[in-house]
Structure formats: structure tokens, C-alpha cells
Amino acid sequence: MYVSQFAVLAAVLFAMGVYGILVRRNGILVLMSVELILNSVNINLVAFGALRDSIAGEVFALFVITVAAAEVGVGLAIVLLIYRNRRSVDLSEMDLMKG
């Protein structure tokens, strides 16, 4: 197996995640796209760790998983709060900081 197989797959997933973040209006869907990006990074971490025969890749993939769990927890709490206050999770309405 070539490492580029994994890296290219990860890159495509990353690009999909970017697309999702930019185009989705629903807060939860944006969070899901973020998960796509994090997972693509994880693939890279583990793949390059295996390539260089280093355990660091796996360890940091674990850390990323942990951080992602924390991120989803807080992110969803925020989304729920927004929903409670505005009865909508549409991010394009969240522009009170407009210049």
C-alpha cells in the first residue's frame, strides 16, 4: 500500500468537510462537517505514523478523538442554546456582529 492512497482519501474528505462548513446553514450539519475534517486529519496521523513506524501518530489520533468529543459536547450545547433562544439553528441568521 502506498501512503498516498490514504493521504489523498484524507484530502478529499477534508475538502468535503470544507465544502460542508461553507455551505451548510444548519449548525449541527456544520459540526458534522468539522467531524469530517477531524477524521481526515486522523487518517493522516495514523497513516504517516505507520509510514514512519512511529507510535506518535496513533497517540495523537487518540488525542484528536478526545478533543473532537469535547468539541461536539460544547458545540451541541451552544447549538441547543441558540435553538432555545431563537427557535432556529440557522447559522446565516447569526450575524449580530455584522460590521
Binding site: V18, L22, L91, S92, D95, L96, M97, K98
Partner: protein
């Protein structure tokens, strides 16, 4: 050291007795041994166990758990005293052999990882023993006191549980063998103080105060974490206190990381020991029950910071290059703190707040002493201060118990008649705090002042450097301290009673601890009479320092120089204190009392005058100036505003700064608008005025407030950046 050995005489050639004593360094290092020293872990174990017992079963006991706490702390006290006795006898044994006594370090390996031994254990030496004794004595008295003071409290059992835990945490911290353990103890102390300060959390100010204490301490705790980490790596991966000191002293740690580590630890001390500018939580912490305040201020929480410096003194001594200097971070912080604390104590109405600022000031003294290299003086001051400050706090509690208020101006006065015991003990402790001979505070304060080594002009010499500025600060504080305590005593005990109801003396469980502490406040100072004190036999002097300070033959303690005591300086400091008392006394007992027995001040002149009295002896010579102050003309004069300004800064200084910045920004904005938009546009160059306007309008649109737009920009920019790297590199 030389007081028992004949070998001492041979080498006793230098002028100073103390220098002579330390110069005859022991030839060998003797390992101390003793059951109580090796099993010191039992001392924190008792209160820790009692915490669990009270927490789970406390309410089933006839006294609702308090008896468990008292028993446990009593047992700790017995063990601590036994350890102290054993330590003293070991030191004597070592003296007989002209050897240095090494600290008793008992460690267990917790776990091993990556070649690092994570250990836990106890480290007992003179310093630790001192703290053990102080903490257990004060804690026991506070426990006994609390059974009366909080008799009807709704969370009586809970209170005692945490009182025990607080004690256990502090003892654990004191016995820490390594810095990791210190962090644990440090945090435990912080958590307990949070719980106890917020004991009556139903009222918003109390819970806010607890939160403030917690948060302010968190700021410093980061410093501790950083400092410990830096030192861990800089010293070649060790947490051990002894090894850290050793490696710092022997120069195995490079100076820069050592300095960084010491600075980070100083940040921790700033918050925990209430040093300027992180001291603000300490006065607010008065929201807790008075016994807790006594415990926090005398024996546990705040002295943890000072203890940290004393424990890791090798690191600080080398890191700040204390020897041979005339200024360093610790000394400056201590000096500023002691002045700020003392001046702020003037403007308080709340008796506990006076004492709180006083504590800040006295802690500043200790830090100052450590900063100038007067290690023994600092520890000794910690020792004596614990007794008289605990006595003052418990006394203030007794007073407030009687009058149901802490406000000196509106609810106290004349209590001398109603509460004779409280009055007497409070007076003794106040005089001790003010530093009048022969009370405890005098001896320790004098030692600190001598330790600055700044008195070379007149007589004594031999400090670690010429910290003249610190000496002046210390002297000013001495006067201020005497003055504000006079004010406090007058407002509380003299004049006419201004409160409601009939105050009465507190019960024996309050009065007896007060008397015990008062006796200690008188006697504790005699433990460390200055060397060469001609009025007593030579082997009565320097007892405390002899047993507490590690022998200079030991590798974990830096070679500090010892200042020579000087009669002149001692008399001067006593005179300064007396002057403070006299000025404030003349104001209160003379002028104010003459107006009316129930008066608390002369129109508005009080602050100005007593502050002036405290301001220092150089102002005292100016009679004219004093007269002005006496008549209250200089209400808006010089010193009063400074005290107030300091208080103001204390309370809302930051706000002011922010507002100021905001106003300036607005002004700048107006200026820009007036000049650029109006003048320029009205002027010739219309187009150049329109251009920035349009540009601003366009740029404004980029800020849509939509997160995703920003995200898109970020992604594209990152991709372009990466593209740039690919193309050009």
C-alpha cells in the same frame, strides 16, 4: 553551632557572634533519626481521617463531629511537639559531634515511568517542624474556639469537617517531599479555603468572595505549575525539593531557567500569600467565619506561599542572586506589599479588614525578609506572627460575637468595660504586632530589619547585600503598623459603646484560646533573641535559628550571610513604633476623645493624621506640619489621599484605566473625525476625504458577521499560502 562546643571558640575570631557561629561549619553531616520524624506522615493523617469521619458520621456524634476534629488535631499537635522535641535533641546530638544535621526525608516510590521516579513522602527538618507546630497549635485553638463561635450554625458538622481537612491539607503541604506533592497540597489548601470562605454561601457576597479567592489563586497556581515544570526539566528531571535546592545551589541549573522558574513560583506566592498586586482576594475572604480567617491568616493558606519560598530557598536565592545585591523581585514585592497593606489598613471600618490588610503587610515583611536573604528572620516572623495574628482574629471574632457586627465605627467602642479578657488579649496581641519590646513581634521584626543589611551607615553589618530601600520601607511600615493598630484598638475598646444591646464577655471556649495565644504572643519572641544580646546568657540567644535553620554544611541550603544585630537599629525600630502609637494615640485618646466619648474621628482629619504619623519619623520633626494635621486642615492634604488612592486603586483602579483608555480613544476618534473628515473635506482636497470613506465602507462589508464567510476566507487563504509554498519552495 558554637554555643555548646569548645571548637567554636577557636574559630570565633570574626567580630560578629553570629558570623562566627556559622563560620565554624560542621565537618560532617549527620543523618537525623527518630520515630516521630520518620513517621511524620501521621500528623496530617489524623485530621484527614477526621475529615472523612466527620463527613460521613459526624452528625451521629453527641457534639456533632467537633470532638473528632479536636481529638484529631490534638493528636497531631502531640505528634508535632514530639517531632519538635526529637528534632531538638537530634540537633543537640549533632552539635556534640560538631556535625550538621540533615533533613529526614522519607520517600516511597509511587510509580516509575520513562526513567523518572515519581515519589511521595515526607521531608522533615527544622522548618517543617516549626510549621507543623504552628499549624497544629493554631488549628487546635481555632477548633476549640469554633465550638462556641459557630455553636448554632446550620452547617456546624460540615464546618468542622472542612476545618480538619484544611489543617490536613496544610500539614500535607508542609511535609511535601517533592514539588508535585506541594502542588497537591497547595491546591487542596486552596479548595478548602474556597469551601470555608464560602461557608455561608447563601448570601451572595460570601459566595462571591469565595469565588474571588479561588479565581485569584488560580492565576498564581498557573505560576506554580509552570515553575515546577520549568525546574523539573532544568534540574534534570527531578521533583525532589532537596535535589532541586542542591542542584540550584551547586550551579547545576543554568541561571536563566532558574530565574524563570523562580519568577513563576513568585507568581504563585503573589496570589497565595496575598502579595501586591494579587492581594485583593484576602480582604474579601473576610466573608468567611472568623475562625477560618484566623486559620487562613495565621497558620494555613497565606503562609503557604512564604513556606514555598523558604522550602525552595536554594532556587530563589540563586535564581534572584540575592547575595551581594541591593534589589530583587522578592524584596521589591515584599516592600511594596508591606507598605500598601499597612496604608490600606487605615481606611477600613471593618475590624476584620484592618486585620486582613495587616496580614498582607506582615506577609510582605516576610517576603521582604526572604528577598533580602534573612531566611531565619522570615521564618521566625512567620512563627511569631501566627500567634499574635490568630489572637487578634479570634479576638475580633469574640468582639463581633458580642456586638453582632464587624463595623468598628458604628457598632463598637468602649468594649474594654464589657469584655475585659478579650480587651486584654487584644491589647497584648496588638502591641506584639506593633512591635513593642519585649513582645514577640518586636524580636522578629527587628531581625528582619537588621537582615536587610542596609544599616551599614550606623552600625550593624553583615547582611546578604545592602538593601537600604527595604530597610526604609520596613521602618515606615513599623510606624504605620503601630499607628493603625492604635486606631483599631481605640475604635473597638475605648470611647463609648456605639452599638445596640448589651455586649458581654464571651464564654471560656473563646477566652481560653485567646489567653493561650496572648501568652505565646508575649513569649514566642524570646525563642530567638538576637545573638550577642547582652542582657541574657549567651546560650539563650538564637535558639530558634539554631534549631530551624539548616546548617550551612548542608548542601540543600544556600550559604546565606547573617546580619549583625544592632542596638541602635533595635532602639530605632522601637522608637518608630512608639512614635506611631504616640501620634495615633494623641489623635484618638487626646483629640477625638476630647470631642466626645462616642466620636470616631475629627471631622475628616483622622485618616490624614494617623497616616502621617505612620508615614515616618522624618515627618515627625516638622511640628508645624503636625499641628496642621492635628487640626484637620490637611484633610485633603498629602498622605490621606495616598492611602485612599491606594484603596481606590485596590477597588476600581483597573476600571479607571480602562475608562481612561476608552475616553482617550473617543477623543482620538473625535479628533480624527474633526480633522480628517471635516477639515480636510471642507478644505481643498475633497477627493482625498471621500476616498478613505468609500474604502472604509467597502472594507466594512467584508465583516458580514457570518462565521462561514470568515471560515471560507481562512480556508482559501490557507490553501493559497500552501500553494505559495509549493510553487516557490
Amino acid at each position: 553551632m558554637g554555643w555548646t562546643t569548645s571548637a567554636a571558640a577557636a574559630t570565633q575570631t570574626t567580630a560578629s557572634v553570629l558570623a562566627a557561629e556559622t563560620s565554624e561549619a560542621a565537618e560532617e553531616v549527620l543523618a537525623a533519626s527518630g520515630w516521630f520524624l520518620e513517621n511524620a506522615w501521621l500528623i496530617p493523617a489524623f485530621p484527614a481521617l477526621s475529615f472523612l469521619l466527620i463527613l460521613f458520621f459526624g452528625k451521629r456524634f453527641p457534639k456533632r463531629g467537633s470532638e473528632i476534629g479536636i481529638l484529631a488535631v490534638g493528636a497531631s499537635l502531640v505528634f508535632a511537639l514530639a517531632a519538635a522535641i526529637q528534632w531538638i535533641s537530634e540537633v543537640n546530638r549533632a552539635d556534640d559531634k560538631n556535625a550538621a544535621l540533615d533533613a529526614v526525608s522519607t520517600t516511597w516510590t509511587w510509580w516509575q515511568n520513562g526513567g523518572i521516579n515519581f515519589t511521595f513522602g515526607t521531608l522533615v527538618d527544622g522548618l517543617a517542624v516549626t510549621l507543623l507546630v504552628v499549624v497544629t497549635i493554631v488549628s487546635l485553638l481555632v477548633h476549640i474556639y469554633s465550638t462556641d463561635y459557630l455553636a448554632d450554625d446550620r452547617r456546624y458538622t460540615h464546618f468542622f469537617a472542612f476545618l480538619s481537612f484544611f489543617t490536613a491539607s496544610m500539614l500535607f503541604f508542609v511535609l511535601s517531599e517533592n514539588t508535585l506533592q506541594m502542588i497537591v497540597g497547595w491546591e487542596l489548601v486552596g479548595v478548602c479555603s474556597f469551601v470555608l470562605i464560602g461557608h455561608w454561601w447563601e448570601e451572595k457576597p460570601n459566595s462571591s468572595a469565595a469565588l474571588k479567592a479561588m479565581l485569584t489563586n488560580r492565576v498564581g497556581d498557573i505560576g506554580l505549575l509552570v515553575g515546577v515544570s520549568v525546574l523539573f526539566f532544568a534540574a534534570g528531571e527531578t521533583f525532589s525539593v532537596l535535589e532541586l535546592n542542591e542542584r540550584a545551589i551547586s550551579g547545576n541549573i543554568e541561571h536563566l531557567p532558574l530565574l524563570v522558574g523562580a519568577c513563576a513560583l513568585t507568581a504563585a506566592v503573589l496570589s497565595k500569600s496575598g502579595q501586591f498586586f494579587l492581594h485583593t482576594w484576602l480582604p474579601d475572604a473576610m466573608a468567611g467565619p472568623t475562625p477560618v480567617s484566623a486559620l487562613i491568616h495565621a497558620a494555613t493558606m497565606v503562609v503557604a506561599g512564604v513556606y514555598l519560598i523558604a522550602r525552595l530557598y536554594g532556587v530563589f536565592f540563586e535564581g534572584f542572586a540575592i547575595a551581594g545585591s541591593s534589589v530583587n523581585l522578592l524584596a521589591v514585592i515584599g516592600g511594596i506589599t508591606t507598605l500598601v497593606g499597612a496604608s490600606l489598613a487605615f481606611v477600613q471600618r471593618d475590624i476584620k479588614r484592618v486585620l486582613a490588610y495587616s496580614t498582607i503587610s506582615q506577609l510582605g515583611y516576610m517576603v521582604l525578609a526572604l528577598g533580602v536573604g534573612a531566611w531565619t528572620a522570615a521564618v521566625f516572623h512567620l512563627f511569631t506572627h501566627a500567634f499574635f495574628k490568630a489572637c487578634l482574629f479570634l479576638g475580633s471574632g469574640s468582639v463581633s460575637h458580642a456586638v453582632h457586627s464587624f463595623d468598628m465605627k458604628s457598632d463598637m467602642g468602649g468594649l474594654r468595660k464589657y469584655m475585659p479578657h478579650t480587651y486584654r488579649t487584644f491589647m497584648i496581641a496588638s502591641l506584639a504586632l506593633a512591635g513593642l519590646p519585649p513582645l514577640a513581634g518586636f524580636w522578629s521584626k527587628d531581625e528582619i530589619l537588621a537582615g536587610t543589611g542596609g544599616w551599614g551607615l550606623v552600625g550593624g553589618t553583615g547582611g546578604n547585600g545592602a538593601y537600604t530601600v527595604m530597610l526604609v520601607m520596613g521602618l515606615i511600615t513599623a510606624a504605620l503598623t503601630a499607628a493603625y493598630m492604635t486606631r483599631c484598638v481605640y475604635l473597638t475598646f475605648f470611647g463609648q459603646y456605639r452599638g445596640h444591646g448589651q455586649p458581654h464577655e464571651s464564654g471560656p471556649r473563646i477566652v481560653v484560646p485567646l489567653w493561650i495565644l496572648a501568652v505565646l504572643a508575649v513569649g514566642a519572641g524570646w525563642l530567638n533573641l538576637p545573638p550577642g544580646f547582652q542582657l541574657v546568657p549567651e546560650n539563650w540567644t538564637e535558639r530558634f535559628g539554631h534549631f530551624v535553620e539548616p546548617n550551612e554544611a548542608l548542601s540543600y541550603f544556600p550559604k546565606i550571610a547573617h546580619a549583625d544585630p544592632s542596638w541602635t537599629l533595635a532602639i530605632l525600630s522601637a522608637v518608630v513604633a512608639l512614635a506611631g502609637i504616640a501620634l495615633a494615640g494623641r489623635y484618638y485618646f487626646g483629640k477625638v476623645a476630647a470631642v466626645s466619648p462616642s466620636a470616631t474621628e475629627l471631622s475628616d482629619g483622622m485618616v490624614a493624621r494617623s497616616s502621617l504619623a505612620a508615614a515616618g519619623h522624618n515627618l515627625l520633626v516638622n511640628k508645624y506640619y503636625l499641628d496642621h494635621l492635628y487640626s484637620g486642615v490637611i484633610a485633603g492634604g498629602v498622605k490621606g489621599p495616598i492611602a485612599r488612592a491606594a484603596y481606590k486603586f485596590n477597588q476600581d483602579g483597573i476600571d479607571k484605566v480602562v475608562n481612561e483608555v476608552g475616553e482617550r480613544a473617543v477623543q482620538a476618534g473625535h479628533f480624527a473625525y474633526d480633522v480628517i473628515d471635516q477639515k480636510v473635506v471642507d478644505g481643498m482636497v475633497n477627493s482625498s476625504g471621500v476616498a478613505p470613506q468609500l474604502a472604509g465602507e467597502e472594507i466594512r462589508r467584508m465583516q458580514t458577521g457570518k462565521v462561514q464567510t470568515y471560515a471560507g476566507i481562512v480556508f482559501i487563504a490557507a490553501a493559497l499560502l500552501a500553494l505559495g509554498f509549493i510553487v516557490f519552495l
